[in-house]
């Protein structure tokens, strides 16, 4: 390793060759402000266009200022990060950026959590001397995401996420010069683009240009409606992240407080999507075994590998990009939708109320779920199985809105029957979790033997594409895992080309899985937050008394009372779905 010695603000520092000035400065405690720069360290997600010019510093012997994020250190370099020249340039650049940004901070959804706002505060901007025309564009609202690109500062993070990481290609920089902005083709609505609503653009946007559709008001109205019974389900990844919004350490598990908060907000029943996750494993695991046994018995019409289908953004992705493979993924609905359909049938019947008077709200780390619950195949006579989906961030804001002191809430438990879950369901929130949960159940169903060990370390981790082999009592089950749609695309292309060596593949659209979902508290590029959330989920799994889905007593009861067997006709009707070709069609006139 070659070391380079340099001086930054009179402090000498020695760093590895290839280090940026920005990182070298951090090493000696100098935090150079940045704006467009974004780095999820260790996850291969970096945005370094060098475009905002906020991080400029003075390098001795250089004619102009250098961007600290993109400039590599050299031996003997002398850097000043706070000279008058630098400070004036940085202030002027910031004033310029603000001069082309709406002045509606007070009512902006991002206010208080906006990187641009914090930076303006940090740089002590008190007025905007260079006022002039502002670039304005049409506002666009989709089921999940609102684009208000008047607020776009062209950091290009969303473009990087949408193209380089997710390979979705819904967004691109368009136009030139002053009117340059990031938008879908022809500035059309996201709804008409191949957007999967994964929400990764929203997760990285430093301003209010990309935000989620806020459904809180509709939920408040439903809660206030005396004719409605309102129940809520919470996704596994929410409990590992919600605390961050209340100042708790990343990775704090707040399951009990969250349940209390939801009760205080007035939900009639507080349930757990984890219950539906266990149900998903029953169906998806059975489907896997079914296909596998048919395949092993020589049926070559069976399509393998089987692909998980819990992630709605992923479903959107293959519907848009790989329609020819639409019969490959499991037909099992996502846990959110399984929950909704069971709630509006089984549970509504139990309560003796009409499904139209039962409102199902989900709390999700995800923005694609907002779209998913509106899909027409999940409506019965116009009534959706899940009425509203709120993100983790919306829930946090809702709790604050209701004057609830979250941190001093007591811990309490979910309601029954749809609140009981196993450890297998909890890890649905992280990459590798769904397949691990499926393996735990499939193993015991296939081998009819108890698992020698519950923890499948070989399936865990954060690498984008992972492979593992699990021994099913002599049968070597080959498993592939991908998170991030770009990684998923690699595995999918193998499947398409008939080169896939796997029996089963788990795919989650967001880097890290749901812990890094588009609806989670903003990590602002701090990868350690994702790791902490992941750790918390595995910890919750370990602490659970039951860790295999098929052991969930309420799941057993559900099958006994209502569904019969996994893959039964009733199951197919309520818990499975079909996929559609959403690719662009060229119709010849």
């Amino acid at each position: 390793m070659e070391l380079v010695k340099l001086t930054i603000d009179k402090k000498s520092v020695e760093v590895e060759k290839g280090t940026s000035i920005l990182n070298a400065a951090r090493k000696v405690g100098i935090e150079i402000p940045t704006l467009c720069y974004f780095n999820l360290e260790g996850m291969n997600i970096e945005n370094k266009p060098g475009g905002c010019r906020i991080c400029v510093v003075e390098v001795q012997g250089r004619r102009n200022l250098a961007p600290a994020c993109a400039t590599e250190v050299t031996e003997g370099m002398v850097v000043k990060t706070n000279s008058t020249r630098v400070l004036n340039a940085r202030r002027t650049v910031m004033e310029l950026i603000l001069s082309d940004h709406p002045f509606d901070c007070l009512v902006c959804p991002k206010s208080g959590n906006c990187e641009l706002q914090s930076l303006a505060h940090r740089l002590g901007i008190r007025d905007i001397p260079y006022q002039g025309e502002q670039s304005t564009y049409r506002k666009d609202t989709s089921p999940s995401i609102i684009r208000d690109v008047d607020k776009c500062i062209l950091c290009r993070r969303c473009e990087m996420m949408c193209n380089d990481i997710q390979t979705v290609g819904a967004l691109s920089a368009i136009n030139r010069g002053f009117m340059a902005v990031v938008a879908p083709a022809f500035e059309m609505n996201l709804e008409k683009s191949p957007c999967t609503y994964c929400g990764q653009c929203v997760a990285v946007c430093p301003t209010g240009a990309l935000t989620e559709v806020d459904n809180t008001r509709q939920v408040i109205s439903a809660l206030a409606d005396p004719t409605k019974t309102v129940i809520v389900q919470t996704a596994p990844a929410v409990r590992a992240a919600l605390g961050e919004e209340f100042g708790l350490e990343p990775g704090s598990l707040v399951t009990g407080k969250m349940v209390s908060a939801l009760r205080e907000l007035g939900f009639d029943y507080v349930f757990d999507t984890d219950f539906a996750a266990d149900l998903t494993i029953m169906e998806e695991g059975s489907e896997l075994l079914d296909r596998l046994t048919r395949y092993l018995s020589g049926d070559r019409n069976v399509r393998l590998p089987i692909l998980t289908s819990c992630c709605p953004a992923w479903v959107n992705f293959f519907e848009h990009n790989f329609p020819e493979l639409k019969d490959v993924p499991s037909t099992a609905r996502s846990p959110q939708q399984m929950f909704g359909s069971i709630a509006k049938t089984y549970f509504a019947k139990k309560l003796g109320i009409d499904r139209n008077n039962l409102v199902v709200v989900s709390i999700m780390p995800c923005l694609a779920k907002k779209y998913e619950c509106q899909r027409s195949e999940f409506l019965t006579d116009g009534n959706p199985d899940v009425d509203f989906s709120l993100s983790t961030r919306e829930l946090a804001n809702f709790i604050k809105l209701a004057n609830i002191d979250f941190n001093s809430l007591p811990e309490s438990d979910f309601d029954r029957p749809l609140g009981e879950s196993t450890g297998a369901a909890v890890i649905f929130g992280t990459t590798g979790g769904v397949i691990e949960a499926a393996v735990r159940t499939a193993y015991e169903l296939y081998t009819k033997k108890p698992l020698p060990r519950v923890d499948f370390e070989e399936l865990r981790g954060l690498e984008g594409v992972r492979a593992a082999t699990v021994n099913f009592d002599g049968l070597e089950l080959r498993i592939g895992i991908a998170h991030g749609l770009g990684n998923a695309r690699q595995l999918l292309e193998e499947v398409r080309d008939g080169k896939s060596q796997y029996h089963a593949i788990e795919i989650m659209a967001c880097p890290g899985g749901c812990i890094g979902g588009g609806g989670q508290p903003l990590h602002h590029g701090d990868a350690s937050i994702l790791k902490a959330r992941q750790k918390a989920l595995y910890e919750e799994d370990r602490n659970k008394a039951l860790r295999k889905s098929h052991e969930n007593p309420y799941i057993i009861q559900l099958y006994e009372e209502f569904l019969g067997q996994p893959l039964s006709e009733m199951s197919h009707h309520l818990l499975h779905t079909q996929y559609f070709d959403k690719s662009t069609q060229i119709v010849i006139e």
Partner: protein
């Protein structure tokens, strides 16, 4: 028809004409007639000799005798002495100041050596669509010698020794660039020719490609040999259909002769050239933006380093030079680096092609040795200012350059001097302005260009230039304040200091240089609300001359904002508070009573 034994050429250039060349011609003709020579000797008027401060000029053929400062009353003496007696009129002969020697013919006149054509050596000389003509002028000899006599390193040494610097604007030493690309190890490298000449007012590269495409092809092949690249790419503006056509023909001819393709000159060296088209983006002249454009992406620049020499087209090492740079290469090989280095100044060797345009008589393409003064270029070669108006400024370097003024006229042109004067070489556009040009408007014009052409990637260029333009616009409308002048200065400096690429780093130059050189004009606009060039509409007012007004009411009826009042048959007046300066009244008035002040 008579056969003439002698011709007297009288300069008919604008400057000479204004200094009586017409009457000289008449006087000569009368004198010939008086002496009965009208059927033996003919007077012909010609285009400008580019020798205007010595005008009017008369040249006698045969003999090429060159007379300067000729007056009508000298006609008789020229006819009698020179035509009749064959004796030159010594007192009118051109005396070269530095040598104090009598010139015997116009060929030896110092001025005429001011232009040396190296890059343009074949332009206007050969048929560009015929490779044989190029070969007849020693074409492809340089390539042949490089491939058969020299090692790549030896060729690079020659280029380094010649002192050639990039003609695209930056002035980076060409040999060094080649050497860097040559040293990087890679399975594939590329030679790229930047023919995306986007500077408004510049057409040097287009002329070379249209007039001498083979010189560029030959040089690219030489570069490929030196750097170890087997593939060349020309990135050319789609707006240059003729250049594209000629280049295509030339490439095909070279392929037929085996001068491109496999095993060129049996040396084992393979080289091929492909074309890629620009699509109307000035920023693609910046090499990283150009490379992205060639890859089918938006032409957005990226931060350097890494330089294209290391990480270029498709991530492979790529040597990017512009057309004019390449056009010099074969000559350096053929005539030797020492010869090339003997031309020019200490740090800028060789010649530079300029596209002279604007308010100048001899608009055109010129090629002068580095170190020639602006005065020589404008007044000698360019033939001075059109219409006998006063010289005000010359803009070099296009939108990246600055406006230089009378006090820079004697500056020898080279990379470093122009930079020091607040402008730059750029690719070689040279626009001359006269007293009718408002310098604030000129700065605004360039900023308008930059705003249109900024790629938008970095904030200072995207937003800063827009704001600069808006402030300038405000000033030209008469709404500027002294605070705006301070803002212009700070903004310009910050944009220069913080922009991502060369476009933004130089875009404020037209503002800074006009602020420096024409500060008074800015102050007049802002404080006195006056535009001395009478070009800023916002600072002008329409008034009605009460003497000329007949009270026909045509103007009042036509005024869209009812700013004009007055009795029928009586003089009208314009209310300046209401007037929007649309000019309709002036158009409608049949009596020329509406004036613009």
């Amino acid at each position: 028809m008579a056969k003439y034994r002698m011709h007297l050429l009288v300069c008919g250039g604008t400057t000479c004409r204004s200094s009586e060349s017409e009457s000289i011609r008449n006087a000569l003709e009368e004198s010939l007639e008086r002496n009965g020579l009208e059927n033996e000797v003919k007077v012909v008027s010609t285009g400008c000799f580019g020798f205007c401060d010595k005008g009017p000029i008369v040249k006698v053929i045969p003999g090429n005798t060159f007379y300067i400062h000729v007056k009508p009353e000298d006609a008789e003496e020229i006819v009698k002495e020179h035509v009749l007696n064959g004796r030159r009129v010594e007192r009118l002969l051109y005396l070269e100041p530095e040598k104090e020697l009598l010139a015997t013919g116009s060929k030896e006149i110092g001025f005429q050596k001011k232009q040396i054509r190296i890059a343009l050596r074949n332009c206007g000389f050969i048929d560009p669509e015929n490779i044989d003509e190029y070969i007849a002028r020693d074409g492809y000899v340089a390539l042949c010698r490089c491939l058969t006599e020299y090692t790549p390193q030896q060729v690079i040494e020659m280029i380094k020794k010649s002192g050639l610097r990039g003609r695209g604007g930056g002035g980076f030493p060409t040999g060094l660039k080649w050497e860097i690309t040559a040293k990087v190890k890679s399975d594939q490298k590329y030679v790229i020719c930047n023919a995306d000449e986007g500077d408004p007012g510049a057409f040097m590269d287009r002329s070379i490609l249209e007039g001498d495409p083979h010189s560029v092809i030959e040089a690219m092949a030489i570069n490929g040999y030196c750097t170890g690249a087997s593939k060349g790419l020309v990135y050319i503006r789609a707006e240059y259909p003729m250049a594209i056509k000629r280049l295509r023909i030339a490439i095909n001819q070279a392929k037929e002769y085996g001068l491109l393709g496999k095993n060129i000159f049996n040396s084992g060296f393979d080289f091929d050239i492909e074309l890629r088209y620009g699509a109307g983006a000035f920023v693609c002249g910046e090499e990283t933006a150009l490379i992205h454009s060639m890859e089918g992406k938006r032409g957005e620049p990226t931060f350097k380093p890494p330089f294209p020499s290391e990480h270029g087209f498709l991530g492979k090492p790529s040597n990017v030079n512009n057309v004019e740079t390449y056009a010099n290469i074969p000559v350096i090989i053929n005539k030797g680096p020492e010869w090339f280095a003997s031309i020019g100044t200490e740090k800028s060797k060789g010649t530079k092609v300029f596209a002279l345009a604007g308010k100048i008589n001899n608009v055109g393409l010129i090629e002068v040795p580095m170190g020639t003064t602006l005065r020589d270029v404008i007044f000698k070669i360019g033939g001075g200012i059109r219409g006998g108006k006063g010289f005000k400024a010359v803009q070099t370097g296009g939108p990246s350059g600055g406006c230089l003024t009378t006090r820079h006229l004697d500056t020898p042109i080279d990379y470093d001097n122009l930079l020091a004067a607040g402008s730059m070489m750029g690719s070689g556009g040279m626009i001359v302005m006269d007293e009718d040009d408002c310098m604030v408007s000129i700065a605004k014009f360039y900023l308008g260009f930059t705003v249109d052409e900024s790629c938008g990637k970095c904030s200072p260029c995207r937003i800063g230039n827009k704001r600069l333009y808006e402030i300038l616009d405000k000033i030209t409308k008469g709404e500027g304040t002294t605070e705006d002048l301070a803002k212009l200065k700070n903004l310009s400096e910050v944009i220069k200091d913080t922009s991502l690429c060369g476009l933004g780093q130089t875009s404020p130059n037209p503002v800074l240089s006009t602020l420096d050189n024409f500060w008074d004009e800015y102050v007049e606009h802002v404080i006195d609300k006056k535009c001395r060039a009478s070009s800023c509409k916002g600072l002008m007012k329409y008034v009605i001359d009460p003497e000329a007004c007949t009270g026909c009411t045509a103007c009042a009826r036509a005024c869209p904002v009812n700013a004009i009042s007055g009795e029928r048959k009586g003089p009208h007046t314009i209310n300046q508070e209401i007037c929007i300066k649309c000019g309709t009244c002036m158009e409608k008035c049949k009596f020329n009573a509406v004036l613009l002040q």
